[in-house]
């Protein structure tokens, strides 16, 4: 018997797929989500076992190439100074993200008008603001209102503790007269909607065993499934198929047994982020690519990591990484020698193994007799930050299909070609210099940095950009493909520019915004 068509088929159960599934559920349409990974079991997260740090370097590593679960696919990122980080499973990247949860700023949507670079978005901050609010309620955000770096908004929970590390860094920032504020975090500082409050496991980035961190497997998905959405795991989509009239007809995927299946659908929504979405489109015979821009304009956030060591003991292995941020250098100031800007995301410290591994790698921890004395001067005495630099779109930074490398189903793997721009290099240099000043002002006796951070390809954006002009964009201003009128994209690939902040909150707000557009246009959706 042929498989019955579904009304809406969502590919990917991560940050955006979960949000749009939940939002569309109220329509009572038959909604199916196909996810290539598994449901996660929080009781089996690394922080529940004595090998918690080892597992972060193995089956919970953020690089799919090292993690190499059977639910992962390989990525050829040899031709990029920044390596890809992701996670494949229900919750997607939110399983491993830190939960650092800033919004975009009004200027982020108007970079061409205000700073003469790249393109403006076809939407603005005011358009997304109600969706940010709705997403905040679903995810649960801790923080503090009144940040002078942002338009007013109200986090619903108290900020995460400042702790010894945050207070030390804050004193340094205050000496310099520079901005800082408690970070908005998708981590429950209080019991919230059935989720228990954070108990400072200090291991947010390999899954939160407590459930305090808002990964979508514990936020949106339970609500979406209660509302009738069907979620099938271990289903890897190979390609989107078309009717003769050019409309999407469904997808071909490999099920949990590795068998090829066809699932017809009236509407297809891609939610696989900027690598996975581009990969599927490119593997679908040029689908939605009359602009030629699918896979192009890949943006990361070039990161710098800067750390300092202090005489006094700091938070070390205690507490969530999230703490405070600074946006002193966020908005464009031409005197700095670059356009746009960056966020400092401050972190607390390191667990014992990572303190040893990293310190040895950077030459701070010796072999032999002096090992123990040196380690005790390092462990729990380190804190610092990352700089999240805005990356501007350039067409030569791109995702293509690798001609040789394939996943376990024989689907071509993505290949990344990326070069760091001169603007990004200048921004990274500036960030390293300012961060060093902060750490010295705070009392650090030793400062180290890495820029760009090689393993920092966490934020993936831009490979199917949104816009009004079909020749210069892949989807329109409400996420529908210009070419295929029953195909939508809701993940980071539709970003026009990257801003200088973590993207997940904006990805989810966009997904809710696209969902509302679909719901309000149901009668004319394909016109």
């Amino acid at each position: 018997m042929p498989t019955q068509p579904v009304d809406v088929l969502i590919i990917g159960a991560g940050a955006s797929g979960a949000a749009i599934a939940w939002s569309l559920a109220e329509t009572k349409m038959h909604i199916l989500c196909l996810e290539q990974g598994d449901w996660m079991r929080p009781s089996e997260y690394p922080s529940s076992g004595r090998d918690w740090e080892a597992r972060q370097l193995n089956d919970f590593h953020y690089s799919p190439n090292r993690r190499a679960r059977d639910t992962d696919y390989p990525i050829n990122d040899a031709n990029s100074p920044i390596k890809i980080a992701n996670f494949n499973g229900v919750g997607g990247g939110t399983v491993l993200y830190a939960g650092h949860f800033p919004r975009f700023h009004p200027s982020d949507f108007r970079v061409h008008t205000m700073d003469g670079v790249a393109d403006d978005w076809p939407i603005d901050y005011a358009t997304l603001a109600p969706y940010y609010d709705e997403n905040d309620r679903m995810m649960g955000v801790s923080g503090l209102s009144g940040d002078p770096a942002y338009p007013p908004h109200e986090p619903m929970m108290a900020p995460l503790p400042l702790g010894k590390s945050g207070a030390t860094l804050a004193r340094g920032l205050n000496k310099l007269g520079w901005h800082w504020w408690p970070s908005d975090s998708a981590i429950a500082s209080e019991d919230y909607e059935g989720r228990a409050r954070c108990i400072n496991l200090a291991h947010c980035t390999s899954g939160c065993a407590q459930g305090a961190k808002a990964s979508t497997d514990v936020t949106y998905w339970p609500a979406a499934i209660r509302a009738g959405v069907e979620l099938r795991t271990r289903c890897r989509v190979r390609e989107i198929t078309r009717h003769d009239d050019g409309m999407a007809s469904g997808v071909i995927y490999y099920d949990a047994d590795g068998k090829e299946q066809f699932q017809p659908a009236h509407v297809v929504i891609l939610a696989c982020n900027a690598i996975g979405t581009a990969r599927i489109l490119l593997n679908s015979n040029g689908l939605a690519n009359s602009s030629g821009l699918v896979g192009k304009n890949l943006m990361f956030h070039p990161y710098a990591r800067i750390a300092g060591w202090f005489d006094e003991e700091l938070d070390g292995y205690r507490g969530p990484g999230n703490c405070i941020w600074s946006q002193e250098f966020y908005e464009t100031d031409a005197s700095r020698g670059f356009v746009r800007g960056y966020t400092f995301e401050f972190s607390r410290g390191q667990n014992p193994v990572m303190a040893a591994v990293h310190s040895m790698q950077i030459g701070r921890l010796p072999w032999g007799e002096d090992h123990h004395r040196a380690y005790r001067r390092l462990f729990c005495h380190r804190t610092g930050m990352v700089a999240i630099c805005e990356d501007l779109p350039e067409e030569h930074n791109r995702v293509t299909l690798d001609p040789q490398l394939k996943d376990c189903h024989g689907i071509p793997a993505p290949k990344i070609d990326y070069t760091l721009s001169e603007n990004s290099r200048r921004m990274l240099d500036h960030a390293v210099a300012r961060a060093s000043e902060i750490l010295r002002a705070a009392g650090a006796h030793d400062v180290w940095y890495e820029a760009p951070l090689t393993d920092g390809g966490w934020h993936l954006m831009g490979t199917a950009r949104m816009g009004i002009d079909p020749q210069r964009s892949v989807v329109n201003e409400w996420g529908r493909s210009h070419d295929v009128k029953n195909l939508f994209i809701v993940d980071g690939s539709i970003f026009v520019t990257s801003a200088g902040v973590n993207p997940t909150r904006t990805i989810q707000a966009l997904a809710l915004y696209v969902a509302d557009n679909i719901k309000s246009r149901l009668a004319t959706l394909f016109d």
């Binding site: 370097l57 200027s107 108007r110 002078p148 702790g163 200090a202 065993a209 014992p352 123990h372």
Partner: protein, 139 residues
């Protein structure tokens, strides 16, 4: 499965990297319990571990100066492999009960007990609260 020579080499490297310390009351990384843990914990670094052991045949029988020279050579020629091996040894050493206790930590995983983090001095935020908004309004 490692050969006897490879096991002896690995134990020598572990001891060179982290010797025992009476000052801190901790064993070396070649301690029996820790070494047993190392042997079963190569994980994704197994190719790196095997590269090092292949390059260091006969290592355990060298004198101390000879071993230092071979490690220095390895650091030049196979730095990624040595990083991988070092990571495995450190992962096992710094989760040992005796070592964690010597660092003032309880020998347990983070969950479910968690940790205490002090709130910190929120009055530090007072000067920032007084600052006028500085984000740019967009047209």
């Amino acid at each position: 499965m490692l050969s006897d020579d490879q096991r002896r080499t690995l134990r020598r490297i572990a001891e060179m990297m982290i010797p025992a310390s009476t000052d801190y009351g901790v064993p070396s990384a070649a301690d029996d319990a820790i070494f047993t843990d190392i042997l079963r914990s190569f994980g994704r670094d197994e190719p790196h571990v095997m590269t090092v052991l292949r390059e260091l045949g006969g290592f355990a029988d060298l004198d101390p100066a000879g071993r230092q020279a071979r490690v220095a050579q390895l650091r030049e020629q196979h730095s990624e492999a040595l990083k991988g091996l070092s990571s495995v040894i450190l992962q096992c050493y710094y989760r040992d009960d005796r070592v964690m206790r010597s660092l003032g930590m309880e020998p347990r995983p983070p969950f479910p007990k968690g940790h205490e983090v002090e709130q910190g001095d929120w009055s530090l935020l007072d000067p920032v609260r007084k600052r006028p908004k500085f984000y740019r309004e967009a047209p």
